[in-house]
């Protein structure tokens, strides 16, 4: 109870690091850990880690995913993370943040959902961002042979497009374009040996409702770019008129219920009718979270925006639904 009221700043930030084997995940992790930033991190790595991780507090785990018995068919969580976070809290004063490295083949959904679903984890930690490392040379092959590579890109808030020295500038542009087709809303950093400023990876606040859609690189830019015919795409919509909260809830509730397994991430900022504050909303599959955040600024247009990243997205249907939430 008291925990739920804890200030956001007291919650331990958690960064999730995903990426295929060999993409440079461990290189990035070791960079984060050895950089002179004065912070200490607890690192949760999987049993099949590729290289050694040099850190005082490393926890070796076996990714244990289970389905919640809560009537939500796509609600899977990582039981090992629930246990490990509980264990780490017994020495909370020994670290400033947690970094979770997933296996190369991992679907990020169960990791993310753990931070929404488990009340004990929620009371003590906050998901900061999902960071995905991809290998510029081998990504096309990975996308061709696995769902997971695509899922990892789709879930990402930050994408580290690594090993750019192994491809030509044309190949690099092509691979970046493909990434954007899947997830137009992640921030992409081109790197060699995973070198980039650490503040581009940590402290992103990507799941912080007050910052939802605050860092969109190119909202509504380059829509309908389907030349690669990716399985996963992202779509964004805007409406200028105020939204009726009841209509919106009815629509989004039914949509998440019906198409939850296809919807990897959903984010929105809404202009509710007769409401000076902005309403922020996010979901990972069917699990949604929303709250009022700061007021609309005087000069800014009060535009409601929503973003979907997922499979089988039907643009006209989604647009009709969103526009149907407008207040009469």
């Amino acid at each position: 109870m008291a925990d739920a009221k804890q200030a956001q700043s007291e919650l331990v930030p958690v960064t999730v690091l995903t990426g295929y084997l060999g993409a440079g995940k461990t290189t990035l992790l070791n960079r984060i850990l050895t950089e002179n930033h004065g912070h200490k991190y607890a690192v949760i790595i999987n049993e099949f880690g590729e290289l050694g991780v040099d850190n005082d507090l490393v926890v070796d785990t076996d990714e244990e995913v289970f389905e919640m018995n809560n009537g939500c068919i796509c609600c899977t969580v990582r039981g090992d993370l629930i246990r490990i976070v509980g264990g780490l809290m017994k020495r909370r004063d020994k670290f400033d943040g947690i970094i979770i490295e997933t296996t190369g083949l991992a679907n990020p959904a169960p990791v993310a959902q753990t931070f929404f679903v488990d009340e004990g984890v929620k009371a003590r930690t906050r998901l900061d961002a999902i960071v995905t490392v991809v290998d510029a040379k081998h990504l096309p092959a990975r996308l061709a042979d696995s769902h997971e590579a695509e899922d990892q890109i789709a879930f990402a808030d930050v994408i580290v497009l690594n090993k750019t020295d192994l491809v030509t500038p044309e190949e690099l542009d092509a691979v970046e374009k493909r990434i954007k087709t899947i997830n137009r809303h992640a921030i992409i950093h081109r790197t060699q040996r995973a070198a980039l400023p650490i503040d581009q990876v940590l402290g992103r606040g990507a799941f912080d409702l007050s910052r939802i859609l605050a860092m969109e690189p190119d909202f509504l830019d380059g829509d309908d770019d389907h030349e690669h015919n990716e399985d996963i795409t992202s779509m964004s919509f805007e409406v200028a008129k105020p939204i009726d909260p009841e209509k919106f809830n009815a629509w989004i509730g039914a949509l998440l219920q019906e198409q939850g397994p296809d919807l990897l991430r959903t984010k929105g900022i809404l202009n509710y009718t007769n409401e000076p504050r902005r309403f922020a909303f996010q979901a990972v599959h069917m699990i949604a979270d929303g709250d009022f955040i700061s007021e609309w600024k005087g000069g800014d247009p009060r535009t409601s925006r929503i973003v979907f990243i997922g499979r089988n997205l039907n643009r006209p249907k989604l647009r009709r639904g969103f526009e149907g939430s407008v207040a009469d």
């Binding site: 244990e64 389905e67 018995n69 039981g79 246990r83 490990i84 264990g87 017994k90 009340e119």
Partner: protein, 351 residues
């Protein structure tokens, strides 16, 4: 516990308390009742002399990291400790430390012991998916593996069986079996704690989805106990097994294991009503009394039959994480997440 007791907190009048400045992971009295140990998140164990609790408490560094699991030794005066440094260690009352086993980077999260006749005993440690069984000397007897990480571990009253909870149910292992064919109790989902009825009538687990699941052991019949607002992390059967006390609601929830219960019976709720969740329960070793600790630090003892509540420790010390009765039931040990630790002597005259 006289009837004239006012609503004052017993820890003030009959207790010794300390601020230990680390997370209290567990509290245990040695089997001879002479030493009280608090196992801490900073890797130390603090030893308090029970007969002279106002005297010096000794701090012994046992783990490089946090203590994650803690139990009384099979002998009269020691303790066994498991840490996030992968070590399973023995701590004597004289503060001597010795290694029983090491598990590399794996956490020793579960631990249970059982004292048999003639100085013999058993130590079972849950490390990842494995349970390692040792004799009283620390000699390894067996190793059992499970389909997923072991989340709870307990001996039955006679030390003949060990129950381990994990994903999709619990496993009952027979300690003396020549071939290890366990009894598997299955129920889909994540089971996060386990308790065995003292007469062997039932095995109960706590589940991720804020409920308990039970199996009646003679016939395998399932039992569902639900309605908790949060997860149950602490389970305790009363002496003789008439009641199962549990945390996870804004009261202590006690399920009746008699008269056909718990199926179709409502539990009783003790010390509830203020919206603060119960985090720890501990049934008294001799009487039908139960101690409960809450999220705000409040600790009470309740007489189960009359529902009468005795306030023991006031709110304000952080979530209660440890409660333990001395073997003779005269003393209660209390520990919280914020490092508050206390021993309350119910036999001592107030003053």
């Amino acid at each position: 516990m006289s009837q004239t007791e006012k609503a004052e907190f017993l820890v003030e009048t009959r207790g010794d308390q300390r601020a230990l400045d680390a997370f209290v992971v567990a509290a245990r009295f040695s089997r001879d009742g002479r030493t009280l140990a608090f196992a801490m998140g900073d890797g130390t164990v603090r030893l308090a002399p029970v007969a002279d609790a106002s005297g010096d408490w000794i701090s012994v560094p046992v783990h490089d990291g946090a203590v994650l699991s803690f139990a009384v030794d099979t002998n009269a005066d020691g303790f066994i400790s498991g840490g996030d440094d992968g070590k399973l260690r023995r701590l004597g009352a004289s503060s001597a430390i010795s290694d029983i086993a090491g598990f590399g980077m794996k956490w020793v999260e579960q631990l249970t012991t059982h004292a048999l006749d003639k100085g013999k005993g058993l130590i079972a440690a849950g490390v990842g998916k494995g349970v390692h069984l040792f004799d009283e000397t620390g000699k390894k007897l067996k190793e059992w593996t499970h389909p997923s990480t072991v989340t709870g571990l307990v001996f039955d009253t006679k030390g003949k069986r060990v129950a381990a909870s994990h994903y999709n149910g619990a496993t009952l292992w027979f300690v003396a079996a020549k071939t290890d064919t366990p009894r598997k109790l299955e129920w889909k989902g994540s089971h996060i704690a386990v308790a065995i009825h003292p007469e062997g009538e039932a095995l109960v687990t706590a589940m991720q989805e804020n409920s308990l699941h039970g199996w009646r052991l003679p016939d395998g019949q399932h039992m569902r106990m639900s309605g908790y607002p949060t997860k149950t992390t602490s389970l305790s059967f009363s002496k003789g097994g008439k009641w199962l006390a549990s945390s996870g609601a804004d009261s202590m929830v006690l399920w009746p294991f008699f008269g056909g219960g718990p199926m179709g019976k409502a539990p009783i709720e003790l010390a509830g009503g203020d919206g603060i969740n119960c985090t720890q329960v501990a049934c008294h070793p001799k009487e039908e009394l139960v101690a409960g600790g809450f999220e705000d630090g409040l600790v009470v003892v309740s007489d189960i039959a009359s529902s009468r509540i005795l306030p023991v420790a006031p709110p304000g010390h952080g979530p209660v994480t440890a409660l333990a009765w001395s073997p003779d039931g005269t003393r209660l040990a209390i520990g919280t997440e914020n490092g508050f630790a206390a021993i309350v002597d119910f036999a001592r005259r107030a003053g």
